[in-house]
Subunit: 226 residues, 2 copies
DNA sequence: AGGCATTCGTGCACACGTTCACAAAGCAGG
DNA sequence: CCTGCTTTGTGAACGTGTGCACGAATGCCT
């Protein structure tokens, strides 16, 4: 019985913060903390306490007034809401620099996203083994996706190959894509795409950096925690 | 004196989109396109046309009614506003999997962010050369930052070392940080931090994926939760 | 020159997100 | 039980972002 509550829509901004709370709570649980206030969690997450409470209230009323939240229970509820009660195998397209780094990044599988496969279009790369996973040809994508029930694909190809990779993923039945290539992908409405763009992030930093320089003085330490 | 306009504050949401417009416009310019309407740019960027116009209007009135925008001029203006008229050397902390991939990623330097150095705390990694850059010890960070006037640092360390890396960067004088480690960093107010968190992105995809499955069809994986 | 088609720039209304402030609800101690 | 302290949950105000709709400006054609 997924409760009534699980049908409720949670704001995007909140969904984006839940993973952060989850990580912090998990860490705290490991350190033996079993109860925590919204104030403390807010401090650790670097956000406003009211925001924490409102975010958590979308999951239900799992706190105890005057006391706080029971860490273990909250961890369970967030995991359930995010759909993390089971593993979500991912397939990586592109076995270049980035693809290798991603496949080799241990925290991937540990966090519930085992690498179901790595594929590349270059026959020269097919067959090599990286981080215990053999690179296979992109033509095998559909069989990998179906065999392992993969619904998440990661694009780690050069820009020019990214749209092609997306097309392959969609054709194979993948419904969520994490795209590291700096291009805007065209996919069916039903497919969810999230983008991680290094250059964009750097350019945003750059904007603020340049703007700061426009001031006059080279200010430095104004220490404060978030 | 164009500076009047450059003092104006541009909304964060717009700043985050400008790099996308910039990339598209640059590509189009290379393909010989020299004029473009907001409609066309919106289509290529996957956003609303009114949004494109409003975004660009923060830079000034650089369009021509009835015609569109001159691509080359717009490229120049966006680059100027983002502060991309000069190179911004970056220093990478952490020479592990990710650090190597980042240093080896060519598009880095090409886009105006040359790698001024890669440092690690592990003496075993110091001295090795990756992508033409020799890995140096983290103690050399201050001299690298000062010698090359670095203001942007990239953290590519394991989680546990990230706060330490941030402290080193701040102490060395870096004022902008791009953090790949899944932790919340504590830094002085004057330092700008942006986060790229793989696990968070995957978990967000996951939420929607799970939610979609919550429909009716008795697909796949419902049975096998631990 | 005048009319028509096109496209920019922007005012306005609405949606979304954040923060404050406070009542409600619990615990502790006498 | 009652008082006082703590912390949640949420209504309401405020701020930011989005998208429509339309006037204003421009080019083209006759």
């Amino acid at each position: 019985m997924p409760s009534d509550r699980s049908r409720r829509r949670i704001p995007d901004a909140t969904v984006a913060r839940l993973p952060v709370y989850l990580r912090i709570l998990t860490e705290q649980a490991e350190e033996g903390v079993d109860s925590m206030s919204s104030d403390r969690l807010a401090e650790l997450a670097g956000v406003n306490a009211a925001k924490v409470r409102k975010d958590l209230s979308y999951l239900g009323s799992y706190g105890t007034r005057g006391v706080g939240y029971e860490v273990a229970y909250l961890v369970y509820q967030i995991r359930r809401e995010l759909g993390l009660t089971r593993d979500w195998p991912v397939v990586i397209v592109g076995a270049g620099n980035l693809g290798q780094a991603l496949a080799g990044y241990g925290g991937f599988g540990e966090r519930g996203f085992p690498v179901a496969g790595v594929v590349d279009i270059d026959p020269g790369k097919v067959g090599s083994v990286l981080a215990g996973v053999r690179v296979r040809h992109i033509d095998e994508l559909p069989s990998i996706v179906q065999a392992k029930r993969v619904s998440i694909g990661v694009i780690a190809t050069p820009s020019l190959a990214a749209q092609d990779a997306a097309d392959h993923l969609v054709a194979a039945g993948v419904t969520s894509i994490l795209n590291f290539a700096p291009v805007v992908l065209t996919v069916p409405r039903s497919v969810e795409v999230r983008k991680v763009d290094l250059a964009v992030e750097l350019q945003i930093l750059c904007y603020h950096e340049q703007r700061r320089g426009g001031g006059l003085h080279a200010v430095t330490t104004r220490s404060a925690t978030a």
